[in-house]
């Protein structure tokens, strides 16, 4: 009896403590909420608002007013070409990553566990090395008389001449983003139960049919995740075109940085940044719509 009372007492105690803990627990949201609001949400709202403003280019004062002129100048040839080039490069990079990444992920998933770990390390470790230095390495590999050029000259008798062109940017971006395509596809493939393969084989499916009817549909969510992780950041890439485009071939990210840090036209720079954000949100939304459809199949 006494023991029961004591037990009840402790239960009540711990219940009370848990209650206080829970109330205190709600305060734990403050750091993350404050930080995200102050340094993420507010800045993005601010550039959206100011993208409709105008700037006095002499005094650098930004006047707030609802004008769409910043968006109108966006329609000029230079910016439209750059935007289309960014879209094309993002699309090309994503496609190249998928074409290389899917076979690689599939190949890894079909090996023994130990081999799988070694191959995964081969995909991940390049990721840990300085991104700038890796990108710069391509300048040296692709330059005239560099290794790739000599190989091409030896085979075809023509110089490669792709450094500082959209092609070299695409190579650099495919290189940088490839691991991001491999990992989600691998995770999806890894989840496929071996029983499914056995069932498909028992039912008489040949390897190609097994791949087409079992492996590919189940890996598709991973492929879509890879497309999002590669395609979205690739649209806003700045460093790779800066290094491998030689300052001649630009992407929208380079123009935004230029408008901000060199020209100082903040409302126009903001309009470009906001447009990029809207385009990416539309792309994400579209891809998110595809995913449930895929999963439902």
């Amino acid at each position: 009896m006494q023991a029961a009372t004591a037990l009840r007492g402790r239960k009540a105690d711990s219940g009370q403590a848990a209650g206080t803990g829970r109330r205190l627990g709600h305060l734990l949201v403050i750091p993350t909420a404050a930080w995200t609001l102050a340094f993420f949400v507010i800045p993005l709202v601010l550039i959206t608002v100011f993208s409709f403003g105008t700037e006095n280019l002499v005094t650098f004062n930004v006047n707030f007013g609802w004008t769409v002129s910043n968006y109108a100048s966006f329609g000029s040839d230079l910016y439209l070409t750059t935007l289309l080039r960014s879209l094309a490069l993002s699309l090309g990079t994503t496609t190249a990553c998928a074409l290389l990444g899917f076979p690689l992920a599939f190949f890894i998933s079909r090996q023994r566990p130990r081999t799988q770990r070694v191959l995964l390390a081969c995909v991940i470790v390049p990721f840990w090395t300085s991104f700038l230095v890796r990108t710069y390495s391509w300048v040296n590999l692709l330059q005239t008389d560099g290794p790739a050029d000599r190989l091409a000259f030896g085979i075809t008798g023509h110089h490669l001449q792709i450094l500082y062109s959209p092609a070299s940017i695409a190579i650099g971006m495919t290189y940088s983003y490839l691991p991001l395509m491999v990992l989600p596809i691998y995770v999806a493939l890894e989840r496929i139960s071996p029983d499914l393969y056995a069932a498909a084989a028992d039912l008489g499916a040949r390897p190609w049919r097994q791949f087409r009817r079992v492996v590919f549909p189940l890996a598709l969510p991973g492929l879509i995740a890879g497309i999002i992780i590669v395609g979205v950041p690739a649209m806003g890439e700045y460093v790779i075109p800066e290094i491998l485009g030689g300052g001649k071939t630009l992407m929208i990210g380079n123009i935004i940085v230029g408008q901000y840090l060199d020209v100082g036209d903040y409302p126009f720079g903001s309009a470009l940044a906001v447009s990029l954000m809207v385009i990416l949100m539309a792309m994400l939304f579209a891809l998110r719509r595809v995913q449930p459809v895929v999963e439902a199949r």
Binding site: R10, A17, A18, R22, G25, H26, V29, T32, F40, P43, L44, L46, I47, L99, L100, G101, P103, L104, F106, F107, I108, R110, R117, I124, V125, P126, F127, W128, T129, S130, F131, L132, V133, Y136, N140, Y175, L178, P179, L180, L183, P184, V187, P207, A225, I228, V232, P233, G236, Y238, V239, G253, I256, V257, Y260, L261, G269, S270, A273, L276, M277
Partner: protein, 274 residues
């Protein structure tokens, strides 16, 4: 019958692995190459390492980078750990909002985010420099840390904490010995990851450093844009060895092949996979 990878997939896979490693091998080779144009092999030398180690810009850059990386890691961990603890007791709707903000901070192109924060600092007259960069890095770094720490938290059964309380542990003691102990590998892995991401960042630092701070990646970026110098390769190899060591520790801390060692955007791959 086991489904085997078709030989074509094997060839493509090996080509892809080669593609990933060739530039890194080229960096390593050129870091000891006497030929300063890096076109052909000109004999071995340690000259570029000596030059890199004596370059005053590289040295101050390195100090600045370490200060920034430590600062942003500390801020990110406070945000991520408190957020993760809050998440456990939050309603489904609140969790969804939290998850969406984490996701947005990771996926938004850095150029857009850095532009916006730069503009905020400009309008509020907040000085650009080390503090500004630390704030900037911690916005996306705290999101990566949150993903990793959360993955750890999911595996912690609340019954463990209740058991500790029933056994007479004070709430603080239960937190320290059960909750925090369970989170520790995630905190270590998240901390090391955020440190390396911050260590490697260009875009956010470029916007928020102003003329007051140039961390190592900005020093390298400047060198790369204006001249060809093999010194870069030597710095690259040293940075690589440093990062690989750190990440090796991260992987060990987070158990083999957890969501730790997957690079900045690779953490996102893991996030999606869940």
């Amino acid at each position: 019958m086991r489904l085997r990878a078709h030989p074509v997939a094997g060839v493509l896979a090996l080509a892809a692995v080669g593609f990933l490693w060739i530039p890194i091998l080229a960096v390593a080779v050129n870091s000891v190459n006497q030929n300063s144009l890096m076109i052909s092999w000109g004999g071995a030398t340690a000259h570029w390492y000596a030059r890199a180690l004596h370059d005053p810009n590289v040295r101050t850059g390195l100090t600045t980078t370490i200060e920034i990386a430590l600062g942003s890691t500390a801020v990110s961990l406070v945000i991520a750990v408190s957020g993760a603890l809050w998440w456990r007791g939050a309603s489904a709707r609140a969790r969804a909002v939290y998850d969406a903000t984490v996701y947005a901070r990771i996926i938004l192109p850095e150029v857009v985010f850095a532009t916006a924060l730069f503009f905020l600092f400009l309008k509020t007259h907040f000085p650009l420099g080390i503090a500004a960069i630390i704030i900037g890095h911690s916005v996306w770094n705290s999101a990566y840390a949150a993903v990793i720490i959360q993955a750890r938290l999911v595996s912690l059964d609340p019954a463990m904490e209740e058991a500790a309380a029933d056994l007479g542990a004070t709430p603080w003691r239960a937190f320290r010995r059960v909750t925090f102990a369970a989170l520790l590998p995630g905190i270590i892995a998240g901390g090391l990851l955020t440190f390396t991401f911050s260590f490697d960042d260009v875009v956010t630092s470029y916007f928020l450093g102003g003329s007051a701070a140039s961390p190592l990646p900005l020093v390298l970026f400047g060198m790369i844009r204006f001249r060809i110098t093999p010194e870069i390769n030597a710095i690259g190899v040293m940075v690589m060895l440093f990062t690989v060591t750190l990440m090796g520790v991260a992987v060990a801390a987070f158990a083999l092949m957890g969501s730790a060692g997957r690079g900045r955007r690779g953490a996102l791959a893991e996030f999606y996979g869940q």
